[in-house]
């Protein structure tokens, strides 16, 4: 009986140890996914958001991008290289047109074509309401490239994949 008790404690310690190591030293894949979690959190907007939070979010969003990021969004006429500041301003302007926003990412598949490069394919869904009260519901497949710069994974390219081609 005593032996079983010690075995149980040892197993518990091992499990806790693995969990701690995973939390303290996350894999590169987890680090990449975290950037998407932050982007989702910072783009999303509640009806109670004040001006201070809005400005902070704009700054935070900009911090997720490389100094120059390539955007390929055909149906929004957003194509070309944009600076971090331009992206931050664009995000702020887009958010100000919505009273409530919810951005969610699904089915993230992360691959590492190079040591400092991550390629992520995913589905992005943006729902919410415009300030005029219109319902928004947009779903797109995205292909993103992130580059590791000074231990941070930053977005360097976002492309909308055309699932349905008119």
């Amino acid at each position: 009986m005593v032996k079983i008790k010690y075995l149980f404690i040892a197993a518990l310690i091992v499990i806790l140890g693995i969990a701690m190591v995973t939390a303290v030293f996350p894999s590169e894949e987890r680090r990449v996914k975290k950037q998407f979690r932050l982007l989702s959190e910072w783009v999303s907007k509640s009806t109670e958001e004040n001006a201070f939070t809005m400005l902070q979010r704009m700054k935070d969003i900009g911090g997720l991008f490389d100094a120059h990021c390539e955007l390929r969004v055909p149906d929004q006429s957003l194509s070309g290289s944009y600076t971090r500041e331009e992206i931050s301003t664009y995000a702020g302007s887009a958010r100000s047109q919505a009273s409530q926003l919810d951005l969610k990412f699904y089915d993230l598949q992360v691959v590492f074509p190079g040591k400092e490069v991550a390629k992520v394919t995913l589905t992005a869904r943006l729902t919410g309401r415009s300030t005029a009260g219109e319902r928004m519901d947009e779903t797109r497949e995205l292909e993103c490239l992130l580059r590791r710069i000074e231990k941070k994974w930053l977005f360097t390219q976002i492309e909308v994949i055309e699932v349905l081609k008119k």
Binding site: Y106, L142, L164
Partner: protein
Amino acid sequence: MEPTYHDGGVNFCWRFPYLFSQPKRHDVVAVRFAGSKVMLLKRVIALEGEQVEFRNGKLFVDGREIEEAYVRYPCHWNLSPRQVEKDCVYLVGDNRSMPMESHHFGQASKRRIMGVILW
């Protein structure tokens, strides 16, 4: 896919039929994005190699008008003729009352079709 299927409803997708046969015109299918968590429901209106167009809301395939009993709302779309590429099908929703620019439709690779909608 209003009014045939309602937003936020629960639908069942059956993958089996497309293991042995190809999607047919008027089938309602589930189309995947990057994975299988988010899908669109769309109707197949034209098959690979066919020419599809809309004239004042009427569907024409290879120049012949196609009857669409499931389109219940008034539609005034005009879309110039275009050929469906190899290994693709042309997909449109049943709610054609909205402006064509706001409607998500077009040709998609057959590899994206997950199955037929049972109900």
